[in-house]
Amino acid sequence: MKLNDLQDALGQIDDSLVTEAGRARGKKKPPLWHKIGAVAAAIALVLTSIMIIQGTRQKNIAGSDVMALATPEYPTIHKRPSDELLYGSESDQQAYDKAFSLWSADFQKQRNQPQGYKDGVISLTRKTNRLLLTSDGENRVYSPLNIYLALSLLAETTGGDTREEILQVLSVDTIEMLRKKAGSLWQAHYMNDGYTTSLLANSIWFDNKLSIKKETMKILQDIYKAAAFQGDMSSSAMTEQLQKWLNEQTDNLLESSVENEGFDEDTLMALASTILFRARWNDEFNEGNTGKSIFHSPAGSIETDFMSESKDNTYYWGDKFAAICKGLTYSGSMWFFLPDEGVNVNELLDDPQVDAILQNCMDYDQQKFLIVNFKVPKFDVMSEIQLGQALQDLGITKAFTASADFSPTSEDAGLFVSDASHAARVMIDENGVTGAAYTLIYVAACKPPDETVDFVLDRPFLFVVQGHDGVPLFVGVVNQP
């Protein structure tokens, strides 16, 4: 082979590679990516969340043939050493200790955040539960954390009254305060240590015609680890890239929703935020105990697979419901709220007793430690929510009007939020690795239970997946498992 052959071959490499690099070069060549001028413009807000309990795969952001203005750098987290290294046939105490100490330092760094950082999400959840989960017998699920972070991005890109309205909904007084809280939330919930997978990702998408302010871009990148992409938003390539990004961040689990997302000729900017969460039960369900049973959905009775276990647990009750909590290894817990017979599940969405349990179950009076005969249907619930009206109902109205202020992002006039959508999915099943730590602590601290209670989720129920710090990651209503 001659040098000339190689030089010529490089001239014929795939178009996408030339385009990608060409766009990166375009950043220093203003004549190429010139501003065409402000036209009637729209901004799409895309929020996507996904939760899977269990699983081991992970995805990284892949390369894009759309110009990447910013590529986020995620924290490096050491893997938590397996107990096999401590107790297995090839145990190595020294190697375990070393690996554990590396993991522990990273883990603490992520988790140790200033007091009060999660208040805004909890407050937002109280405002949004009824708005987003009330249904006539359909499954509903959403991610409060995901919506909070996406609205934080929106607040960063807006100014004046437009921003003020958003800050109010996010329960902060200033944008600086929001940055601190959103940054802490991001840190506290980004984890990829081999036991917990909680991947948060943000991105911002611009049309070539939009002139962008670098300061805001830098904040989005530094605080929100946002990736940024620029291209011709009316092109199918840009829509394909957005869909690719969303599918990658959500491990293709929301493909059917993602395929409906895309840009049109009026779109000049889009904000996207995703969460991918995986955790394992502290105590897995025994697959041998799973069997068919009847679930009484509003649409009629359904025969479905129920997982069951009989274990000591704390049983909570309120005036309209009963509840139990099942732990997730190192990553929080999942609450199940079963409305009493004759009570509609929608009534629990803003029930103060539900809220009290979620905020501090230790101080809640109506609880008892006993043997719980727990039966829950295996479920895979998914819902798409058009957020536009809900956000306006919450008080974010200016962003949707022609007078919206997007000056921190661009001087181009006429930008406004045209649409906002949210898609989420939660699945549970028996599988997973048993972690002993949480269960052992509880057992050691309490007297052996002497009573039993049946807790059978055979009619519509509410669930809440809480992060390690109590932040509601996912809230949903299962009407049809």
Partner: protein, 192 residues
């Protein structure tokens, strides 16, 4: 509202044989294509001629070709013309031999292989290189293409990606070595 000057509309005008389209292409992409040529030729007159040759080639190729990204299509043509001219100049000792082109750095990839394989199908080699680059991370990919497709200066690439010049050189060095290994593995030539 002013009609949008999109690539799609421009390409359609090529198909409609609207000669005025070349004026719009010049206005839109002329300066960019000039830098592509000038990075290789380091000569204003020659570079301008290359860009003009590009328009003529584009006029001949479209139709039937309908490029999905017009600028990429044009940049590839410009690069081809510029390299041809650069080789011509170099053989005539006209300017081209007086500076080291980024493309010369590629010599260490094919070192020792020139006598071994007589002919190479360039388009197939391009596919192999594309495949190799596609598997790299986006930074490596873009840095490599900026240097060896666009022939950008190390200083400019460093500024573009917010890295030090040393960092960019290290990326290029590593990637060249890796590409050499890959091409050997694929049987393009043998290690000597």
């Amino acid at each position: 509202m002013k009609e949008k000057l999109t690539d799609k509309a421009i390409v359609q005008r090529f198909f409609d044989r609207d000669e005025d389209v070349l004026t719009d292409v010049e206005a839109r992409y002329g300066s960019y294509l000039f830098t592509v040529a000038n990075n290789i030729l380091q000569n204003t007159e020659d570079s301008k001629e290359c860009v003009n040759d590009t328009y003529l080639s584009a006029w001949q190729k479209i139709p039937p070709h309908r490029p999905p990204v017009l600028l990429t299509f044009l940049a590839k043509i410009t690069r081809g013309h510029a390299i041809d001219r650069w080789r011509q100049n170099r053989s005539l000792k006209r300017g081209g031999g007086q500076y080291v082109l980024p493309l010369d750095e590629l010599a260490d990839i094919v070192a020792g292989s020139e006598e071994i394989t007589a002919t190479v199908e360039v388009s197939e080699l391009a596919v192999s290189i594309s495949k190799f680059l596609a598997a790299e991370n986006s930074l490596v990919r873009q840095v490599f293409v900026c240097r060896y497709f666009y022939c950008d200066r190390i200083t400019d690439i460093a500024r573009m990606f917010g890295r030090s010049e040393g960092g960019i050189k290290a990326i290029l060095h590593r990637t060249r070595a890796k590409l050499r290994e890959e091409l050997i593995k694929e049987g393009w030539f043998y290690e000597t």
